[in-house]
């Protein structure tokens, strides 16, 4: 993240909260490694979201108190977590049958690049000797909705592009992109901005995005933050 970008937009936890707002009561949701993991801590009060961890559990709860960690109760990032009442354990094959069979309402994932068509690149950087695919290809293909939750740019380079140049995780799979600057839907008509973070203008957003963005007229006329 460049210093310039830090001046505007959502903090990581605000971004996670913004994502959490859109998760509906009763949804089964998988959280990827990185910023998506933060979503677990900011689920709105009174809403029951059942979190899935691909190493084999449903009902992921908050981090344990210090000293309460159990090395046999970890998330997909191998970090200690807790299990909510109603949660359960199963094997990796059952866990991925759940993912690949289309049973999760949403997967919230990080990204290296995402194209204006919803192509996702998230498992291998061109300059690294090894890729690390984990469950990313399964989640993008299997989840009912794929939401990205990421910084808008990486070291000043836009992550939203016309065509991905990094190896693909899956083509045409992303439904919505949440970044520190905006909420953007991937639609048949291209990338449509749904919401701008505080202090972010449409022009600023477009300048930091390497693909054409649209914004609905109706939204602009409603005094949306886009007109700030």
């Amino acid at each position: 993240m460049s210093k310039d970008e830090q001046k505007v937009g959502w903090s990581k936890i605000e971004l996670a909260s913004r994502v959490a707002q859109d998760l509906e009561d009763g949804w089964f949701v998988n959280l990827g490694i990185g910023i998506p993991t933060l979503v677990a801590d900011v689920i709105p009060e009174g809403r029951e979201i059942i979190l899935h961890s691909e190493n084999g559990l449903l009902g992921l709860g908050p981090k344990p108190e210090p000293g309460e960690e159990d090395m046999d109760l970890v998330n997909a990032g191998k970090e200690p977590i807790t299990l909510k009442p109603g949660g359960c354990f199963f094997s990796q094959s059952d866990s991925f049958a759940m993912i690949r069979g289309g049973h999760l309402d949403a997967a919230i994932l990080g990204a290296f690049q995402v194209s204006m068509y919803g192509d996702l690149a998230s498992w291998k950087l061109p300059n690294k000797p090894l890729g690390r695919v984990g469950g990313a290809m399964d989640l993008t293909v299997g989840a009912k909705r794929v939401f990205l939750c990421m910084q808008h740019s990486s070291k000043g380079v836009p992550k939203i592009v016309e065509e991905c140049t990094y190896p693909l995780t899956a083509p045409r799979c992303v439904d919505r992109i949440y970044t520190d600057l905006a909420v953007i839907d991937v639609t048949d008509d291209g990338l449509v901005v749904q919401e701008l973070a505080p202090g972010v203008t449409f022009e600023y957003l477009q300048a930091n995005t390497a693909a054409p963005l649209k914004i609905l007229e109706t939204r602009l006329s409603k005094g949306d933050s886009a007109v700030i």
């Binding site: 009561d25 009763g26 089964f28 009174g46 029951e48 059942i50 899935h52 449903l58 009902g59 299990l83 009442p85 109603g86 949660g87 359960c88 354990f89 199963f90 991925f96 049958a97 759940m98 993912i99 690949r100 069979g101 289309g102 049973h103 999760l104 293909v141 299997g142």
Partner: protein, 231 residues
């Protein structure tokens, strides 16, 4: 707040439409969702494709739907038993279609449906009448047939206990086809003996995770008892 419990079986199955594909758990009478079947007889949806292992073993199973002329096609492994007469009659007059599948192939096709696998190869039924017309391929020097996933619009399953989230545990061999069918339908409806508080079921021991169960019906043993007495 998650709430999957329905007031009664009629409401839980009200939207089953003509032409729907329905998976029905149970092995003979064990684990058979007989109250959901009875409600569907009452509801009357027609031209159903029904996937169930046994047809005719018990009167309150899929046989009841066949006798009530609600079934267009049956996919099963064991279409015989004391209550198979109506099936035989309808096969003879051509008003029902029967697809016999080896029991393991049936289970695996349903699992594939739940697991996002559209098709897989198996040596079961190769070189037999049940493999006829199927695409074949050699693996490791052995002939295999290509089998396709089964997905239901609805599944009827029977469990022992559920919680509000929809987690299920079963009683002994009551499991049979119930856990796998639960994974393979757009809407899975479970009838259970008991609904307990969230957190009461042992998390190591939940055979059907909540994600697979969409609607719950708690059986009322007393009322059922009265019905039986009235018979």
């Amino acid at each position: 707040m998650i709430q999957k419990k329905y007031e009664n079986t009629a409401k839980a199955i009200a939207d089953i439409h003509d032409g729907a594909t329905l998976l029905v758990g149970g092995f003979g009478g064990s684990g058979l969702p007989s109250h959901l079947i009875a409600a569907l007889v009452e509801q009357g949806a027609k031209n159903l494709t029904v996937v169930s292992n046994n047809i005719g073993a018990v009167s309150d199973g899929v046989a009841a739907l066949i006798s009530n002329n609600q079934v267009k096609k049956i996919i099963c492994s064991f279409p015989v038993g004391p209550h198979a007469d109506d099936l035989i009659a309808r096969l003879q007059n051509g008003t029902i279609e029967l697809e016999i599948a080896p029991q393991g192939t049936l289970a695996e096709r349903i699992r594939a449906g739940g697991a996002g696998v559209p098709a897989f190869y198996t040596p079961t039924a190769a070189h037999t009448e049940l493999g006829e017309g199927k695409e074949t391929r050699m693996f490791n020097g052995r002939l295999h047939v290509l089998e396709h996933a089964i997905i239901g619009d609805f599944a009827f399953i029977k469990g022992h206990k559920a919680d509000r989230w929809g987690n299920l545990v079963y009683n002994k061999t009551q499991r049979n086809f119930n856990p796998v069918m639960a994974t393979a339908a757009k809407i899975t409806i479970a009838e259970v003996d008991e609904i307990v508080e969230v957190g009461e079921l042992d998390p190591e021991n939940i055979a059907t995770p909540s994600v697979y169960v969409h609607r719950l019906i708690k059986l009322e043993p007393q009322r059922e008892g009265r019905v039986l007495v009235n018979e």
